[in-house]
């Protein structure tokens, strides 16, 4: 495993702590010879998915909205591992991150396939990166929120026919997270 993409879903109002954490983590990963692409989603022009399905039926594999989402999709397909990071806001990952994630659907195919006894979308690409999630606890968030988010992100991984390797909190030292990535 060589290429890592970090999707920073922190918010503009109070994102500094998570930004700093990710910067330190990125430094450690680079010192360990990983190639790291960092995307700070709140600074990018990423619009809402319209649900038009043109990326499935008109321009297969590509969204008709021309904005920075294509950079995110390219980075995902180019990476071996995608680390998503977000504060816990009202019990879930941020809307900044969700807006980018809703735009992932060009990466899959409209046809259904049965995976582990469930309906899922057929893969468009041969290979998808493994996934990890870093969460920043905020006042009012609790263990149950982490469980709920982890379950939903594990489902997201299944829909991309890949695996969520870990969920970590920013209270865990950056070194530990880097070590965990090293073990994948």
């Amino acid at each position: 495993m060589k290429k890592i993409c970090i999707l920073n879903g922190s918010r503009s109002d109070n994102g500094q702590a998570l930004d700093k954490y990710l910067e330190r983590l990125e430094g450690i990963l680079e010192s360990r010879k990983y190639e790291v692409t960092r995307l700070v989603l709140r600074d990018m022009d990423i619009r809402y998915c319209h649900g038009c399905w043109d990326c499935w039926v008109k321009t297969p594999g590509e969204c008709v909205i021309k904005d920075d989402s294509s950079r995110v999709l390219q980075a995902i397909i180019d990476s071996d591992f995608v680390l998503t990071a977000s504060p816990v806001v009202m019990g879930f990952t941020s809307s900044v991150l969700k807006r980018a994630k809703d735009r992932f659907i060009p990466l899959i195919h409209p046809y259904f396939a049965i995976v582990q006894g469930e309906f899922h979308h057929r893969q468009r690409y041969e290979k998808y990166p493994l996934l990890g999630l870093i969460l920043e606890m905020t006042p009012g968030s609790d263990e149950e929120d982490i469980e709920i988010i982890s379950d939903i992100y594990a489902r997201n991984a299944l829909n991309l026919q890949t695996v969520l390797k870990f969920v970590r909190l920013t209270s865990d030292p950056e070194e530990e997270v880097a070590d965990e990535i090293g073990r994948i």
């Binding site: 998915c49 590509e62 969700k98 809703d102 469930e118 309906f119």
Partner: protein
């Protein structure tokens, strides 16, 4: 009762969520004195008027399609805008309608757990989550195929108008199948390939994109 309804579909007025809500609200309006206010979240610049409507309402229903195993981003943005009303005295009872293209309602159970927790966080009474799978394609289906579905949503709305509750029997009926198993899965898979793929193929062909349907624009060059 005064009901505030939020349609969280990114497709707004062209959405399947709208169609289901239309039937629900037709039933709801049959009870004398019941009235509703409807908002499309994607059309809101900020959520000021939505928050005001939320605070004034006697009941709230938030309806949206399942997007990436959870809520669409505009719905998450609205939920974040509700943060200041967490635990406010007199928050209205809150319920959800979630529809998905996936046929199994179990796909939305992970989100349902989130929504239930959200009502606790807001300090609202939870009136439940209605889940309906297999909704993609209803706009292309002839009336005889959708009659029962629309009738169920009409009934759901009618009973909600009278009682302020989602009828548990209807919720259970709409939620079937939770998952498929055994021969049911094989049969469902067969029909999904037959009709589901035909549905997508007809649109791909209409757009002259059928030959490119497996395109991989972001794949590394070989």
């Amino acid at each position: 009762m005064k009901l505030a309804v939020f349609n969280g579909s990114p497709r707004a007025g062209g959405s399947n969520t709208k169609i289901l809500l239309d039937h629900f609200l037709r039933g709801f309006s049959e009870t004398q004195g019941d009235e509703y206010e409807l908002f499309y979240l994607i059309r809101e610049k900020d959520f000021t008027s939505c928050i005001e409507a939320f605070k004034k309402a006697e009941h709230v229903v938030l309806a949206f399609p399942l997007y990436g195993d959870s809520m669409p981003a505009p719905v998450k943005a609205f939920i974040e805008a509700l943060e200041p009303v967490c635990g406010r005295e007199g928050n209205p009872p809150l319920g959800f309608i979630v529809q998905s293209g996936f046929p199994e309602s179990g796909q939305s159970h992970y989100l349902r757990r989130y929504l239930e927790k959200l009502t606790r966080r807001l300090g609202c009474r939870y009136t439940g989550t209605v889940i309906k799978g297999g909704v993609e394609g209803i706009q292309a289906q002839p009336p005889w195929m959708t009659r029962k579905l629309f009738q169920s949503f009409y009934e759901l709305g009618r009973i909600y108008g009278q009682t302020g509750e989602f009828d548990p029997e209807l919720v259970e009926k709409l939620g079937k199948p939770v998952w498929y198993s055994g021969p049911g899965l094989i049969v469902a898979g067969f029909f999904m390939k037959l009709f589901g793929h035909a549905y997508w193929n007809s649109m791909l062909k209409k757009n002259g994109a059928y030959e490119k349907r497996f395109a991989r624009p972001y794949a590394p060059e070989k």
